[in-house]
Amino acid sequence: VIHVALLVAAKDLRVELRSRVLLWQVVPFGVMALLLCGLALGPAHAGNSSAGPGLFYLVILLVVLLMVNRSQAIERSSGTRSSVATLGLDPAGVFLGKSLALAVELWATGLLLWGGAVLVLHTALHGSLVALPSIVVTLGALAAAGTLYGALTGGADTTATLLPMLALPAFAPLLIAGERSFSDALHGGGLWQWWVIVVVALVAYLGVGILLYGVLEES
């Protein structure tokens, strides 16, 4: 399973590296959304670091939707899904691989947006550094959930509208837990109660994905 996961992750990341969609489309969108958040708050409030964690995760959610669509689009081109199916790869490995690739892409984008939040939204650097591990885990959970929801909506005519409708409510607890752990890190509070939610969500999504991804890919 691990071998298959690494193969699939390497394939997805290689496709991303060659197409550079992440670099030229997703990252600029995320940076623009972060700047717009600052503009929407206005100069009097944009420097108020208490809004930073929430806005950071809001932008992350928008970016995740784009990335999940992108991750599924790779599989959508004619014959890809069937040719992958004929290889007889373990579906659990495929799920883990796609989640890992999405997580790596999210970590890279999240790092840039984290820097943006420090610069534009004035979140305190020390607190933001303390929050980094929780951000890494939250983005991992979002990647696992996103891969599952992407597979659920993939191939449908209405994927573009269906994915946000299904995924955003499911992402909400992660958004809340991630935002609270980031805020707690900024204010020097205890992180653990929010960490628990994120870790449980990560384990739950990975568990469901490992068990049921094969069912979604059945032809």
Binding site: L148, L152, A156, T158, L162, M165, A170, A172, P173, V208
Partner: protein, 241 residues
């Protein structure tokens, strides 16, 4: 025996129990010392929420799990899951509406960003998403598989809703009927009214489910007849010299 009950008695028994709930809830039980007449919503709101979250959504989740398990996989399970989820949407919206009616005079607002309310609203959106997902897929097998997986994913939200009043400091009150150590918090005629309400609304769910299931079976057979007729018409067109 069960079949006979569901065919003949389910509807009348449900109506009698709900009528009894209304009579006991509005006329027989006394008003609350602090909340006055407003407390009568307790005979509706918890029962509706019970059906929405545990009975109907639970039925949908179990049927979905049974569909995914190869040994029990059948379109009957998919139909049950679909119909139960539709009924659950009705009940969860009723839960939010009755809660809101209670919240306005008590908290001063129709809606509060409370953990229980927010997680229930998320559940309502997830259930609507389930129905949207079903409409987005034409292939019955693909639709059944995807919606079954989605129902199981959505079930992750149920324990969050259930324990939200314990995990977070919320406006929403904690357990109404039992305390954490299973001590009854409500007594006498009020307890009986609440029990009748719970049974009545649970039976109402099964009545709705049965009716919706039968409708779905008829709709599917009608679609099949229409498809057969269309194919036959095409064949005739092809046969014309």
């Amino acid at each position: 025996m069960m079949k006979q009950f569901s065919q003949r008695l389910l509807g009348p028994v449900t109506l009698v129990l709900l009528a009894l709930t209304i009579w006991l809830g509005l006329w027989v039980t006394p008003p609350d010392k602090i909340q006055g007449q407003l407390a009568r919503l307790v005979y509706v709101h918890p029962s509706v929420a019970w059906v929405a979250l545990y009975v109907s959504f639970g039925t949908a989740t179990i049927a979905s799990a049974l569909y995914l398990w190869r040994r029990t996989r059948s379109m009957t399970m998919d139909r049950i899951a679909h119909c139960a989820m539709e009924v659950s949407v009705v009940f969860i919206l009723l839960t939010l509406i009755t809660g809101s009616i209670w919240g306005r005079p008590t908290w001063g607002v129709w809606w509060a960003w409370d953990a229980r309310l927010t997680s229930t609203a998320i559940m309502a959106v997830l259930e609507l998403g389930y129905l949207a997902l079903r409409r987005a897929n034409d292939d019955p097998m693909l639709r059944a598989r995807r919606s079954a997986v989605f129902a199981i994913l959505a079930a992750i939200n149920v324990p969050i809703i259930h324990f939200s009043v314990d995990w977070w400091k919320t406006l929403h009150q904690g357990a109404t009927v039992f305390t954490a150590n299973r001590t009854l918090l409500i007594h006498g005629i009020q307890a009986w009214t609440l029990l009748i309400s719970f049974v009545g609304f649970t039976l109402l769910f099964f009545w709705f489910l049965r009716a919706r299931y039968r409708l779905e079976v008829r709709r599917e057979s009608q679609s099949q007849v229409q498809l057969d007729e269309a194919l036959l018409a095409r064949q005739r067109e092809g046969a014309v010299p």
